[in-house]
């Protein structure tokens, strides 16, 4: 459980801290820059913020919000040990209702992982520093490297991350998908 809550908020806190340091550095350097550079920097900063917060919200996180979800294609895990494919029930993840996902995990050379592979689900909203509103988990191995994840819920629109940790014969590795709902 701890991982659910702490990892996104710790990450967000760290990003916030880095962002604040960067802002401070920008402020200091501003005074020594020629006027056109200052304007360019300010415009760049505005654009950067707008990209992070399309709804024009306050800057609280420097993490780059992705333009779109990246769940359509399989992804390699961080250390390259697995390829993971995810699919929400019905094709698109809804905001509101609880729903299921299927996850397909193969080793780097394309072999499906066995049913006994351990798969943990985590996630949250990096911009808000909170985890998922539910505690989803794999409830069934469907064979051929496929697993059923139940208890998925996204209770608000915005940028969500969905992390899957895989532990099978090649070792432990994880991958994070982004959803922009």
């Amino acid at each position: 459980m701890a991982g659910f809550v702490r990892s996104p908020s710790f990450a967000a806190d760290a990003r916030r801290a880095i962002f604040q340091v960067w802002i401070t550095a920008s402020d200091l350097s501003m005074t020594r820059l020629p006027i056109f550079r200052r304007i360019a920097l300010a415009v760049g900063l505005c654009l950067g913020l707008a990209a992070c917060h399309p709804h024009g919200s306050h800057g609280s996180s420097a993490a780059a919000r992705p333009q779109a979800s990246d769940i359509a294609a399989p992804k390699a895990t961080d250390r390259g040990l697995y390829r993971v494919e995810v699919q929400p029930e019905g094709g698109a993840a809804p905001v509101g209702p609880m729903h299921r996902w299927t996850v397909r995990v193969a080793t780097a050379d394309g072999k499906p992982v066995p049913d006994a592979a351990r798969i943990a689900v985590d996630g949250g909203m990096p911009e808000h520093g909170h985890g998922l509103p539910t505690k989803p988990r794999v409830t069934q191995a469907l064979g051929d490297g496929r697993f059923l994840v139940e208890g998925m819920k996204f209770n608000m629109p915005g940028w969500w991350t969905l992390s899957l940790s895989v532990d099978a014969a090649p070792g432990a590795d994880s991958v994070t998908f982004n959803l922009v709902l």
């Binding site: 459980m1 701890a2 659910f4 809550v5 702490r6 006027i35 200052r38 304007i39 300010a42 709804h55 024009g56 919200s57 306050h58 609280s60 905001v95 509101g96 609880m98 808000h128 520093g129 909170h130 985890g131 998922l132 509103p133 539910t134 505690k135 989803p136 988990r137 139940e150 208890g151 819920k153 209770n155 608000m156 629109p157 915005g158």
Partner: protein, 408 residues
Amino acid sequence: MRFALAAALVLTLSAAPAAAESWTGPERALIASLSLDKLGPVPPDPSNRVADDPRAAALGKALFFDQRLSGDGTISCASCHKPEQGFQDGLELGHAAGMTNRRTMPIEGTGRLPWLFWDGRADSLWAQALGPLESKVEHDGTRTRYAHEISSHHRAAYEALFGPLPRLDHLPRDAGPLGRQAERRAWEAMAPADRAAVDRVFANIGKALAAFQRTLDPAPGRFDRYAAALGAGKPAKGILTAEEEAGLKLFIGKGQCVNCHNGPLLTDGHFHNTGVPPVSNLPPDRGRADGVRHVLADPFNCLGPHSDAKPEECAELRFAVTEGPELLRAFKPPGLRGVAGREPYMHAGQIPTLAKVLDHYNRAPPAPEGHSELKPLGLSPAELAQLEAFLRTLDPEAPRKQAAEAAR
């Protein structure tokens, strides 16, 4: 200087009221998703097999207004959930047999929420309905008293739904596991089979009350006409004023209200710490952190012996977040329909007016306990006024038809 002028221009432009035709595609979709016409049918409640039985709703309605379901015969559900006031009472704290520690919640639309009460300590409407019946500061009655009342006054309607009532004439007038000492002793002295039979009647009272409450949905406001028109690509001009439209833009944008107040009921039904101050003369309130412990231990939850659901149908309970710092002092956002007519606000009525609620969110004070999810919004007084103007468009347009009907 030129930079300052440019900046001023940008600020002026961004503060200008939005026109209906200026919404982006995603904004239109988001606004349409908030419209009441997107509500759809009430989701099934597998834990309550009479949830959608009109006979159960009729019995539930009779029970909702029946003052005999109380310790002193003067309190019904409608004493605090007043139909003519949107099924709430307008008080800081609920006041029935005594004073509660929380604000009375409105009940329209609650049949669609996974968790009930401010802290989600019940996982169905029927389990929720049982709480106030045994609370000493609400109905202040006992389980055997309620079973006797059903037997005396609602027998035919009850038996048509749930089968024959158990024999009750040998049971004490007032006995229950949560009652006063004498009532608890009387309960303990009852045979286990009698206790189980009374529990069954008690649960069925909740199920009938739930069937009635599932028929109560909020009435559409001017915003709903606007959102429905926008969603259907029809002209929406003139339904909202420019100020209200600007408020809507803030609601889904800079104000970040839609993060928690989303969907047609304008609540996500989950739990958030928003730094609401404590009330000095009330005991500490840990919100969801305690609510989740209660619901897991509740014998009337979806996994309990009186639930009609298969265990695998109890998804909310099975996948609930049960621990973690996010739960501390987190409360459920109430739906915002009719919000302007529901002063005072927050879980213990801490904030008297809508304007002061908006000021709270704008300032984002630190949480008294746990961590507030809020961050300062930097909204100007003009923007706060726009937001408030928008929230008033969520008032029902027509007189409350359901409420008028519900009130006999």
